[in-house]
């Protein structure tokens, strides 16, 4: 399992792995917002955390379709399906590698891009915290969509559409926890704990559901 995680990580970060496409897309989404909204700093700093969360969500979804498809194309998936490592654990390892390679750079970039949107420092800190807690859930949910669409040659958009409704709760609680950190009367902890609960819940459900979908795709 560790071997699988290390190899996937190395492949994603090597040339042609496409691991860093997400961060470029993230930059593009966030950088266009001030041009569209206009130079109203008060407005920008108010909507900034939400924009950053939406950008991170869309960037995380962008690269999901390759999660299993590359393995299916070269036959690796056949060996993972019946390997000595139980399939849900293999999926979990792939999800973690995917998260490290594509979502972790988003988390690191978010505060830098937050400066473009004049987001206050306290909100930047909360944003990083909620992204770290919430983006693993996106990877686990996305694995299910990627597994369902694995046998479709152009399943990329389908994955995003399938996964988006499930990812909405993560977005809602991520953004509300971020706002609660800066808006005084709102409590930070309840939405943040629900976000953590979502991540833990999907870390169990996602790999199991994705394994079932991958096995079903064989028939």
């Amino acid at each position: 399992m560790i071997a699988l995680l290390r190899r996937d990580l190395a492949l994603a970060l090597s040339a042609g792995g496409g691991g860093l496409v997400g961060i470029v897309f993230f930059l593009a989404v966030v950088a266009t917002i001030p041009f569209g909204v206009g130079p109203d700093l008060a407005l920008l700093s108010r909507i900034g955390p939400a924009v950053l969360w939406i950008g991170a969500l869309l960037s995380a979804l962008l690269s999901l379709d390759r999660l299993f498809q590359a393995d299916r194309d070269d036959g690796t998936l056949d060996l993972l399906l019946r390997g000595p490592v139980p399939l849900p654990l293999a999926v979990l390892a792939k999800c973690l590698a995917h998260w490290c390679a594509t979502c972790l750079p988003l988390v690191v970039a978010a505060p830098v891009l937050g400066l473009i949107l004049a987001v206050p420092p306290a909100a930047l800190g909360a944003l990083v915290l909620t992204l770290v807690a919430g983006t693993p859930a996106l990877a686990f949910i996305g694995a299910v969509g990627a597994a369902v669409a694995v046998s479709m040659p152009r399943g990329g958009l389908l994955v995003s559409v399938l996964v988006l409704p499930l990812a909405i709760p993560v977005l809602v609680f991520g953004v509300s926890a971020t706002y609660a950190a800066v808006n005084e009367p709102d409590p930070f902890l309840p939405p943040f704990l629900i976000l953590l609960a979502l991540t833990l819940f999907f870390s169990v459900l996602g790999p199991v559901a994705a394994s079932l979908a991958l096995r079903g795709a064989e028939d």
């Binding site: 190899r7 036959g75 060996l79 399906l81 064989e218 028939d219």
Partner: protein, 230 residues
């Protein structure tokens, strides 16, 4: 401890509930080989994928006896003690050949030969540091075959193993297969070419005519029943 024995009883295999081949039966002891032959579309690959545990058999069963895993338990099925060598090579083009094989050695467990020895045996000395994507089709096939040597498993399920190999490489592969049988391994291979497998049992798939998809063969009674609903 008894010797390894694999029995296939009345196995019907197919995809999506439609039978493609079978029922087939075979009884393989250590050192045996089974060559699956038949025209294109006869269900050779489907049979091998079923044996490898990738497809669920529609009927019949596969029994393994006389084998104890490293944890002291009997294997859960044939797939646990078998290498599946399919049409696709399971090599990542961006990683080097040695990295690819090293990964499979760690992932599959029970290390056999070292990566260097395995590559030498398939005649690929000195390509370990090349990215797998740079290899020619025949070289990639041989590098993928080295996977069967770096992790030790007694049963080899081979689907057209000699695709795009030249005559010398086929000769070398025949030797490796014979050596595997000599050490008590079992081979199941689908191939159009003679692999020099002496004394191999042959299982000939006739190429069953494709039956209609299930659910379409309504008889009169089912139609009458359906009309009763309307």
């Amino acid at each position: 401890m008894t010797a390894l024995r694999v029995r296939i009883e009345g196995l019907v295999c197919g995809r999506g509930g439609v039978a493609a081949a079978g029922p087939v039966g075979a009884d393989l002891a250590a050192g045996d080989a089974l060559v699956v032959s038949g025209p294109n579309g006869a269900g050779k690959s489907t049979l091998l994928r079923t044996l490898a545990g990738l497809l669920r058999p529609l009927a019949g069963r596969i029994c393994v006896s006389g084998m104890v895993m490293a944890d002291g338990e009997a294997p859960l099925g044939l797939f646990e003690i078998a290498h599946y060598f399919g049409h696709r090579n399971a090599l990542k083009p961006a990683a080097t050949v040695a990295d690819n094989l090293g990964f499979w050695q760690r992932f599959l467990g029970e290390p056999g030969l070292s990566v260097g020895e395995a590559l030498a045996l398939v005649g690929l000395e000195g390509v370990g540091d090349l990215p797998a994507g740079r290899l020619s089709a025949g070289q990639a096939r041989r590098a993928a075959f080295a996977r069967l040597l770096v992790a030790r498993r007694p049963v080899w399920i081979l689907d057209e193993p000699t695709t795009s190999l030249d005559a010398a490489s086929q000769e070398r592969m025949s030797e490796i297969l014979a050596a595997h049988r000599a050490t008590g391994g079992i081979l199941v291979a689908a191939t159009h070419l003679a692999l020099g497998l002496t004394g191999a049992a042959e299982l000939r798939l006739a190429g069953a005519p494709l039956s209609a998809a299930p659910g379409l063969d309504l008889d009169e009674a089912a139609l009458a029943h359906a009309e009763g609903w309307l």
